[in-house]
Structures are given as C-alpha cells and as structure tokens.
Amino acid sequence: MDIKATNYFDEMRIDDGKIRDIYQHYQHWQSNLSTGTLERKSAEAELLFRRLGITFAVYGESSGSERLIPFDIVPRIFSRTEWTRLELGIKQRVRALNAFLHDIYHEQEIIKAGVISKKQVLGNALYRPEMQGVDLPNQVYAQIAGIDLVRVAENDFYVLEDNLRTPSGVSYMLENRNTMMRLFPELFASHAVEPVEHYPQMLLDTLRESAPANVSNPTIVVMTPGSYNSAYFEHAFLASQMGVELVEGQDLFVHQQKVYMHTTDGPQQVHVIYRRVDDDFLDPLVFRPDSTLGVPGLLDAYCSGNVSLTNGVGTGVADDKSTYFYVPDMIKFYLGETPLLSNVPTWRLSEKDDLKYALANLPELVVKEVQGSGGYGMLVGPTSSKAEIETYKQRILKDPANFIAQPTLALSTCPTLVESGVAPRHVDLRPFVLSGKDIRLVAGGLTRVALSEGSLVVNSSQGGGTKDTWVLED
C-alpha cells in the first residue's frame, strides 16, 4: 500500500509548503549549502560513529556482529513552548506510574477502588510478589523512564508506550548531539540549542538520591550483562561519563545482605546499582536459576534496604502493553489531574468484543505483543501483505490475551537525508525521564526515524535511524 507522506503532519512544512517558524533559520542555512555537503557530512558522521565504536548488536543475526545505528544529520526541532507542554505531560505520566507501582506493592488502593482489576495486576507475569511491602527510597520504582511519543498534529501527541525496565538509547541522544556539534559548529553558533550534555550529571544526581537512606556518600555502579549485550556501548559510556565502575554480575557478591565488588584493594561495598540487567537474570536464587549474569543473594540485600537497584524490581507490571490502557486512569486516581498526553486508543484482545473488532479490521491496525519490545513481533496492518496478516491472525487466535491492537497512527514526518535527497520520513521521540527526589529531564530526547519510505516502524532493531533533537527558543 502506498502511503503519501503529505497525508501526515510535517514537522518542517505547513500544508502549502511554507516553512514553520521554528525551522526557518535552519532551512535557510541548509538551502545555502553547496551541493553534496550534506552527503559528505553524513559520510563523515558515519566514520565518526564507527571510530567511536558506537555500535549495537542485532539479535537474530550472527552473534557478535556489530552494526551502526544510522544517524541522520537533519535535526528534529521543537520550540520551547511545545517542549514545555510536552515536559509537563511526561512528568505527570511518570509521577503517576511510580505512584501506581508503589501502590500495588503496598496497599493496592487502586484495586480496592475498582479502577483496575486484581487479575490485571497480580495475574501479570511481570508482577513480582517478592516486592510486596518493600519500601524504596523516595517511593520511586522507575528512576529512569523512557516515554515513547508520537505526534500526529500540531498539538496532538500520543504516548506509544512507557519503558520502565531498562530503557536504552540515551547514549545516542548524547553522541548525536556531540557529532552534530563536531560536524556543524556554525549551526550551533547561530542557533541557541538547549543543551543535553548534562544528562550524565543529572543521572548521577538521581542515583545518589536513590541510595539507601542512611548512606551519605554512596558508591554507585553501572551493571551490564556484558560486552556482548546489544546496549553495551551505552552501559560503558554512561559509567565513564559518571565516573563510576562498570560491573558485571561476576564482579559482585553478597555478604550478610550487603553487596560488595571485587576490587584490586579487596571488597568494597556498593550502595546503588544502576542495573541494565533484566529482573529475570538479577539473582539466580530468586529468579532464573540458570542466570550467570546476576548475583546470588542480590534480591535479599535489596529487600533488606542495604542496596538500591535502579530501576527497581518489578516495574514491568506498569509498562506492560495491557497495563498501558490504564495509565490515564492512574493519573486521575493518584494525581487527581486530567492527563496532558493522550493514550493511543487500544483494543485489548483478551476482551471478546475487542478481539472481534480487531480481527475484522487487521489491515488498518497495528497489533503488538503485550510484553514485547523493540518492534519485534508486531504487525503493521497497512504495510503488510494479505499472507502476513493471515499468519499473524493465526498467532493471535492461539493466545488473544497476549496481544493488543491500536489504530495505525499517522506519525509525523521530519525531513531526512536519504538517497534521493532530503525527504520526509516518519519519526517518534523518546525523552528520558529521571526520578529521584525530583523528576528531571533534559530538553531533548532520542528522535527515531523510519528510514524507508512510508515505513512506520522506527525501532533501531528494525532498521530505523536516529536524529539529533533540538529545543529552541521561539
């Protein structure tokens, strides 16, 4: 099916082809470049990225293969006014999600009030009964959240999904900016782009604030599954930017409910672990017994309050795609506020009527697995063949409760350098939200772009690229 980009909200152009105010200056600069400059700079950027080793591994391909995420050199620009509005909505959402997590692991008021069913929460595979009654510093569970947003109109943003487990991509946000500044210093001299470079400092502050209450000068580490993990570059990057150790499970051990790392000067106690290891692999004594990535006894130390894990254990129950449906209700329930960001209308295929509707309208819908992520195993109806739809339908029928369906959103487009020149491509946005004693985020985020014409899937694992994201004074 041929989708014309003109049907979508264009971030740079108004319908009659005029340039939006916020892009005026940039467009003027770009139109004065000599032919081939963008292409040349783009090749230069690729070299830079390769040299820096900013690579990721793609699952399902030959093991150990390292690939670059394509970087697009045309920035995506927000005005300060737009950003302030977004920021409020994002913070509101994250505040409600953390309140929800605290509630379900304590009093479960939201269930008692009948807003969400007991089954939806306690029956969820990502609900961790071990966490029931465990008190966390600041009552925060998801210290680092990635909220995926898409824009469909000037003032119309939707939350596509909440990432509350181990959201990744922030290193790309930082390196994209770094690369842009290296390639186009003149652009930054003539544009007052709000900085994002202080993200690691903000992250460090957040981690400090998340330390167990009685620790005044916490030792903080970043925990990685290892150098073969797809996001290893990011783990190492963040550790070095914050000046903390990058550890693997094998570097840690638990003694009398306290966590220590093996150092050249003997064991040293660790107080905050920014872990990029999934719940399942954290502690072989409690979760997957075959895990070699975790630390035996870690959960016990965590529940005793001697070490903080960020993000907390059991956050998956809140970013699950079937729980997503309830987030607007959470905002009303916990904050007494009207949601500032919309949810995408969602059909939960566990419900009979929803299933019936979805099956009848598959060619128009996007269908996702409830606990899937990274764009794996989803169906984009409008761009799928009849046969693909039929195959997917059989998958749904096997276990309808494992799927949700949403209308195909008209993701906005942003000018992007492709083979034929600069052309509109669909984008989304992932801002990174930090929650310690306060909620913070830098002005910017990771803009992901679907590089093939008409494609709506922006995930890097599915061949998407990224862009630098600017916030400018209007």
């Binding site: 390769r50 040299r51 820096l52 080793g53 030792t219 970043v222 150098s227 290893y232 570059f233 190492a236 990057f237 550790a239 070095s240 903390v244 150790e245 990058l246 550890v247 693997e248 094998q250 570097d251 051990f253 003694h255 009398q256 220590y260 790392m261 093996h262 150092t263 050249t264 000067d265 003997g266 064991p267 040293q268 106690q269």
Partner: protein, 333 residues
Amino acid sequence: MLSRTADNLFWMARHIERAENIARVLDVAHRTSLLPRDVEGTEANLWYAPLNITGCAASYEEKHGLARASVVTHYMALDPDNPSSIYTCLKIARENARTARSAITSEMWEIINATWLELKRLSEQMDYDYEKFPDFFDWVKDRSHLFRGVTLGTIIKDIALSFIKLGTFLERADNTARLLDVKYHILLTEKENVGSSVDYYQWGSLLKSVSAFEAYRKIYRDVISPLRVAELLILRDDMPRSLHACMDEVENALLEINGSAGKEARRSAGELHAALHFGRIEDIFEEGLHEYLTYFLGQTYSLSQNIRDAYLARQDRFETLPIGSSVQTQQQT
C-alpha cells in the same frame, strides 16, 4: 578499581606491546633475509627464529611444515588462528579495551578501535603479499607509539595507568629477554663460545629490532660485541627496552598500586630489579647468557602470577576485612 577492569587494562597493554614486538621481530627477520645468503644460513633456519621467540614454532610446523618467509610472515602477522599473531593480539587488545571501556579515555578507545578496523581492512588487502609487509610493520609500530602517546596524554595518573604500565613493561621485559635468547640460539650452539664469536649482522639486527642500534653507537662508539649488546639490553637503565629499564617501571607501577594483597608481587619485583641494578655483565656471561635469560623469564612469569593473585583474580578476599561497616571507613583513608 574493579579487579576485572584492572585485569583488562593489564592485558590490553600487554597485547598492544606484544603486537609491536612481533612486528619488530618480523621486521628484523625481513631485513636479515635481504643480506647475502652465506651470512645467515638457510631460509628455514632464519625464519624459525621469529617463531621461536613467540613460542609458536610447534603450532606453525603442524599447520605449514617448513619455515618459509612469506608463510611465517603471514602466520605471525595476520593469521587469526595463531593465538600470538599481531592480528590476534590487536583483536584481544580491542576486546580488553571494550570491556574496560569505562576506565580508559575516549581517545584511547578511538585509537584501539580505529587500529582494529584498519587492521581488518589491511589483512584482506595484503594476504600473502610479502612486499607489503615492511610497511605493515611500520604501521603496527606507529599505532603502538600512538596508543602510548595518547595514553600518557589523556589518562589521569591513577592506578588505571599503573596497571597499563605494569602490563606494558612486563611484556616488554619478556620480549627483550626472548629476543636476546633466540639470537643466542641461532648464533651459538655451544655455551663456551659465548662472547668469543662476533657476528656483526646478527647482533646489529638484534639492536635494530629494539631500536637500540643508534644508542649502541652513541654509548660505545665501537664495534658491536655480544657482551656489550647484552649489557645494553639487560643492565643499562637508560635503554628504554632493556630489562633493567622495564623492571624500573614494573617496580614503580607496583608501588603506585600498593594495596595489602600485593606484598608478594612487590617483593619479587624488587628482588628482580635489585639483581639488575647491581648485576655485572661478566657474571651473567660467566653463568651463561641463556641460563641467565631462562632464569629471568621464569622470574617474570612468577611475578605475573603474583600480580594476578594479588589484584586481578576475583577471589573472595573478604575474610581479610573485619565484619561490619568498616569498608566505608577504609574508603576514606
């Protein structure tokens, strides 16, 4: 510092240094092979030397049989299956650096990563093309120099640097000792001949391989004699690749690292260093150069083991600490 990080830094440095030394060894073999045939015997004889130095003669023979110039060169430079080829060393160095990425500077990582990417490209281009190798050896040396320069110019002077130095100089000492020893094998089969036979070309190329030819001229202003070459490369502490100079650095690095667990490592390094500091070349020749070098290699090996046990292994040394919250206090002292 995390033991695993220290381990990776130590081995990163060792592998880069090793790659450089292999390039040096091969470079000299190439130069020597250009000399008139009667000076250095058969091709096979000559090309066993570099294999012997790196201890891969047996695995080479198994794979390729007789030592031939282009095959040995390729095997030692680019064969991914050879655990001590330049290719493998730089590959492992890059893996070590990647794993210790957060402990090194971006500039250091960029050099190592760019080196590896370039090496992959070069290795496809060169194949067995013998002519291209001298340039390649220069390139390997250049990259190693560059890495050392970038390291000293960008990293803060804490124990990360000490572990890098430790790896570099322990490896260098090991290599210089092997180089000297193999020359001994080629030149002299009988112990009592040591010091009596002078082969200008052989000893000259040995000096060149460790960038010591000019230094020799400057210091001795005389013909090349084995005794002086050995003195220069073993005992002189102003010669950057001599055993003495290397052990100076190793001992210093260990003192910087300190730590209660490192007592034994510091002791054996100090002992080794003192022997070089006060040693006399006549005594070494009296004992036998080969015997001396064998002893030295044994000592550096056990020093390496001591370092591993003290700092790099992840064994649980918890019992050395009092129970309770003392760790926090320790941190502040």
